[in-house]
């Protein structure tokens, strides 16, 4: 019954769809919070610039939301189209968070529509601000619920397994799995962090392009501050995630760290090349893995040799993990330096090279998101439901998945190019100086 080609192409298509979707989804979760904060600061300080910041972010946000919505619909349906056997089994236990995710999405969609079409409609800006709260809550909660589904796949519970069937199901327990707290908080916080660094990159880029308006400076300082806060939160939660893995998914941690022998005083290896069981050219940090795993430099970490060979994930996830962590650390440092320099009045942060680093931070934070998700998902192989269902048992038996892969690849190409073209056009045609002048003229005209 297993169709090898279908399994391979189904995995490829799911990876393609998710990799494309999470770029827009991450922005979709993070940016509403940024808009909300900007608008709040604008109201509090009675500063037109922050309000305009919120408005321009919101305008660009609509384009990313559109792509996020349609690719989200695609992955929602593909779960059943490509993995019918998985959904048939797991649907019994995880339908609740899946269903609640659509409610959160609905809630967000309604209030986003209202927010977008009520600009200047209310006399009181605070009323308009209130509409952003449900948008941000809806966006974050759809991430929370959908990550709960994903957490269930890593640490399924809330049922008993009796001859291949799930019985005695407890839907609430299935939502609150051991993987859930670290996963959900990591996803939400990194989305905020990514949104902050992407928006900071835009502000830095405008300044590099010669626009020296105070508006961009305010935008950059605000987003770098937020980026720093969320980067620190990410690092703390990342540490908890490592401790979770050590207890509940040791094979994933061991594969990520190329840790073969179960031993205490385990050291952490950064990058390097694997030759057999020997790591070469790697940077070794003594005791770091034991600390990451159990918070104690002497504690024992289970190694790869303790697992059956056919239950191990591919070892290349080491690079994904390292890249993700390295980018995270680099961005934390970058924003820390920026905020400290602002505070102490150091001038080098206004140099071109430093601004280019900030510009680089935007795409890098998206790369880190991709690396993190690939690490999570590939690190769970060969299971689709860890310990219960293998990936090849879950896939469809259809022979046409390869054609669908080409179809969707074409779609994502069009959407990707389309969204970039539209976004750049939108802001190039209407730079902030122009918009501020227009608003000034409008108001002047109103008074006269």
């Amino acid at each position: 019954m297993v169709n090898g080609d279908a399994v391979f192409y189904s995995r490829l298509l799911t990876e393609l769809t998710l990799s494309f979707h999470i770029i827009y989804a991450t922005i979709g979760v993070g940016v509403p919070l940024m808009i909300m904060i900007a608008q709040w600061v604008g109201i509090r300080k009675n500063d037109e610039h922050y309000i305009l910041l919120a408005r321009r972010w919101a305008r660009g946000f609509v384009i990313t939301v559109a792509v996020g919505v349609v690719t989200g619909t695609a992955i929602g349906l593909q779960l059943s189209l490509l993995w019918p056997n998985f959904m048939e089994l797991a649907g019994n236990a995880i339908a609740l968070p899946l269903f609640m995710e659509t409610f959160a999405f609905f809630f967000e969609a309604i209030f986003l529509g209202i927010y977008l079409y009520t600009w200047d409609r209310f006399e009181d800006q605070r009323k308009h601000f209130l509409l952003l709260i449900p948008v941000a809550i809806g966006a974050s909660f759809s991430a929370v619920f959908i990550t709960m589904v994903n957490a269930f796949m890593s640490s399924p519970r809330g049922f008993d397994l009796v001859s291949g069937e799930l019985v005695n199901i407890n839907p609430v327990l299935a939502m609150f799995t051991p993987a859930m707290p670290t996963k959900v908080s990591h996803v939400v916080v990194t989305a905020y962090m990514t949104a902050a660094f992407v928006l900071a990159a835009i502000a830095a880029f405008r300044m590099l392009r010669g626009s020296d308006h105070i508006y961009h400076k305010k935008a950059l300082f605000l987003t770098m501050k937020l980026g720093l806060i969320f980067a620190i939160a990410t690092a703390i939660i990342g540490d908890f995630s490592g401790k979770y893995l050590a207890v509940y998914q040791p094979e994933k941690l061991a594969a990520a760290e190329w840790h073969f022998e179960t031993e205490g005083d385990a050291s952490l290896v950064l990058f390097g090349l694997l030759e057999g069981e020997e790591v070469r050219y790697g940077l070794e940090l003594p005791y770091a893995l034991s600390i990451l795993a159990h918070g104690n430099p002497r504690s024992e970490v289970i190694g790869l040799n303790d697992f059956p060979a056919d239950e191990l994930p591919p070892l290349y996830i080491h690079y994904l993990f390292d890249l993700m962590v390295t980018i995270g650390m680099a961005l934390t440092l970058l924003s820390l330096i920026y905020v400290a320099a602002k505070w102490r009045g150091w001038k080098f942060i206004e140099s071109r090279w430093f601004r280019w680093l900030i510009v680089l931070g935007g795409p890098l934070s998206l790369v880190a998101i991709e690396m993190g998700w690939w690490f999570t998902e590939v690190g769970r192989q060969p299971w689709v439901l860890r310990g219960i269902m293998r990936t090849e048992e879950a896939a469809t038996t259809s022979g046409q998945v390869d054609l669908m892969l080409i179809l969707f690849a074409g779609l994502y190409l069009i959407l990707g190019i389309g969204s970039i073209v539209v976004l750049t056009r939108m802001f190039r045609r209407n730079p902030v100086e122009q918009e501020l002048a227009d608003r000034e003229a409008e108001r002047g005209g109103g008074r006269a």
């Binding site: 349609v70 349906l77 959904m87 269903f99 999405f105 609905f106």
Partner: protein
């Protein structure tokens, strides 16, 4: 009432919501393209955009609701429909994706007004209901067979069946009819009599194929699925009532009176016909493989889903009401005195 019936009723409500809201959306795209084709776009484009822009995302949610709910309440549908529908559903997703993102790009971003795009947008809006309506045909049975225990869709049987094509035609004309009646009313509210008159004409034109194919399908089912046909006849009074409401809508449109009431009657007509069709399908989800009862989820999940559904609904109904008040029933907005767009 058993949990199975509650579950299927909830799903049926989502599907009905999607049919009405998406019809307005798809039909509007088509009328917009058609008016561009006949160089009358200045009559309709404004009305259509003002209605669609704040709600386009909401339309999509109803669809997501339906299929997520279907997997939730009836996980076995994932096995049968998921395996068999890979190709048609993927095509529908791609069309939806292009159409949805194009709308956002054009409306909020680039303000593209190239006619080629407008035609494609209108055409895609007709292909999507055509693609989805094949699912209704498939559920009648006879198009899916099991091969080594896995369901396979017989494309030749599907595309050569007159039932398939009648359902496709019904879906298309119903989309255009529902959309035209709604927009007639909306244009009247906006005080745009030219748009309203044009749309009234479309409504009357599309009412004819809608009722003719709907009647024709009942007859065709007799040859295709006798059990279902017998059930349909048993519910004759539901369809008679639905037909009565249909004539009410047409009468009001003809007399140029009370378009709001005409639209309400139309919703009633489709609700009755849709529910009558659904009830007569009982107890099959996919004839003859899958019934409501053997595809149903466990009791704990069913109760959890129903509670989540009620809680979610309590949140959404007031929000939807707010949307209606701000955009549908707000004079200044409808008449386009100001669009307040970000």
């Amino acid at each position: 009432m058993t949990l199975e019936i509650v579950g299927i009723s909830v799903l049926w409500m989502f599907l009905f919501g999607y049919v009405i809201i998406a019809s307005v959306d798809f039909g509007a795209g088509f009328f917009n393209a058609y008016s561009a084709f006949t160089n009358k776009e200045h009559v309709l484009t404004n009305i259509i955009q003002r209605y669609l822009s704040p709600v386009w995302e909401i339309t999509n949610v109803f669809l997501v609701f339906f299929f997520v709910g279907a997997i939730g309440f009836f996980p076995k549908t994932a096995f049968y429909y998921g395996t068999a529908l890979l190709v048609p559903a993927s095509i529908a997703i791609v069309l939806l994706a292009i159409r949805g993102s194009y709308y956002a790009f054009a409306t909020y971003g680039a303000r593209i007004s190239h006619k080629g795009y407008i035609y494609m947008y209108g055409l895609a809006g007709l292909l999507i209901p055509a693609a989805w309506s094949t699912v209704l045909t498939i559920s009648e049975g006879g198009f899916i067979y099991l091969e080594n225990g896995a369901p396979v869709l017989d494309y030749w049987a599907l595309f050569s069946s007159p039932l398939t094509w009648s359902i496709v035609v019904l879906a298309l004309s119903a989309v255009l009819y529902i959309s035209a009646v709604f927009l007639t009313w909306y244009a009247r509210k906006a005080g745009d009599d030219r748009a309203s008159d044009l749309l009234r004409k479309y409504s009357l034109i599309w009412s004819v194929p809608t009722i003719v194919t709907a009647t024709g399908i009942i007859v065709e089912l007799r040859a295709h699925n006798e059990e279902h046909f017998a059930n349909l006849i048993g519910l004759w009074w539901v369809f008679a009532l639905s037909a009565l409401l249909f004539f009410g809508t047409v009468f009001l449109l003809w007399k140029r009176r009370n378009y709001g009431m005409a639209f309400i009657l139309l919703v009633g007509q489709f609700f009755l016909a849709f529910s009558g069709y659904g009830v007569s399908h009982y107890p099959y989800l996919l004839y003859p493989y899958l019934t409501l009862y053997d595809g149903f989820t466990n009791e704990a999940m069913a109760i959890a889903l129903i509670i989540a559904f009620l809680a979610g609904f309590a949140l959404l109904l007031p929000s939807l009401y707010l949307v209606l008040r701000l955009f549908l029933f707000d004079k200044d907005y409808v008449q386009g005195k100001s669009d307040y767009h970000v």
